[in-house]
């Protein structure tokens, strides 16, 4: 039951976190770049660079989260398979 609760809380926080972090990173990159363009008179280069950095940050955040989830699920699968594998070993012996 506690495990189920943990998954629920983690799943919800991950979903909300990822969605808003990607949007905020892109917005931050774009508007930060636009502000710098205004200061240094380099329009549109810093806006484009900022936007691309924001998109890259979003992709990085998604990649990291998918790696963590994938590692966690493979660990859970291995743990759940362990008793079965041990049983097969015992049979062979």
């Amino acid at each position: 039951m506690a495990k189920q609760n943990k998954n629920w809380v983690r799943g919800l926080s991950d979903a909300i976190n990822l969605a808003t972090t990607v949007a905020a990173a892109i917005a931050l990159g774009y508007f930060g770049g636009r502000w710098l363009d205004g200061r240094f008179d380099t329009e549109p280069w810093l806006t484009i660079i900022g936007f691309l950095l924001g998109v890259a940050t979003g992709i990085k955040a998604m990649w990291e989260k998918s790696m963590i989830t994938s590692n966690a699920s493979s660990t859970t699968t291995n743990v759940s398979r362990e008793p079965e594998q041990n049983k097969n070993k015992d049979k062979k012996n």
């Binding site: 506690a2 609760n5 943990k6 809380v9 983690r10 919800l12 926080s13 991950d14 909300i16 976190n17 808003t20 972090t21 949007a23 905020a24 990173a25 917005a27 931050l28 990159g29 950095l53 924001g54 890259a56 940050t57 990085k60 955040a61 963590i68």
Partner: protein
Amino acid sequence: MIFGMWDSPFFDLGPIPVDHLVFTEWVIIALIGIIAFTATRNMQLVPRGLQNAFEAIILWTYDFFTQLMDKEHVAKKWAPILTAFFLFILLSNYSGLIPGAAHVQGFQPPTSNWNVTMTLALITFCSVHVAGFSEHKGRYFKHFVSPGWAMLPLNLIEEIAHPLSLTVRLFGNIFGEEMVIAFLLFMAPFVIPSAIMGLSLLLGAIQAIVFTILSASYIAAATGEGH
């Protein structure tokens, strides 16, 4: 005044002008303080009444944050501030539902102003880095250049994106909800806005939960083994 936005302060406290929403914040903080004081004034070994309810809430929050953060000592250290966030945001969101909110002088829902939501997000931002540094000491700063120095700009943007997303989400939701209710009050008073206000009960609770869970997950990420 445009939908609860006053130009002048509510009153002056000596040389310091006190805004309408600051006054509402003080009322909410005083309310939480009075309830907490009443619950803990005369503590008994076998809890009853308000003490019993508060103990149940505190045990539940410790359990909830321990599940989310994995490390029990981190959860116990940061659960009080996270619970305070939850109660403050919940009451702030619900204060907009009291008749007269944003239309009576000195009574404006605090979370409908981005200055308040940004302050809360900045407290979270500082808490995350304090938690990370106190857990990992100097090693904590390595995660800014992980997996290599080339990732420094992306990691910095991500760190700043966290408080930005917390600020905009809470402010946008509550401000938008206030606007919808205000427009509906102009067009069809009494009946139609009450449906949206009913929905606001759910929205206010969801936003308070989301802010608290996200703050907890940022602290969990900063104090986790990945750093």
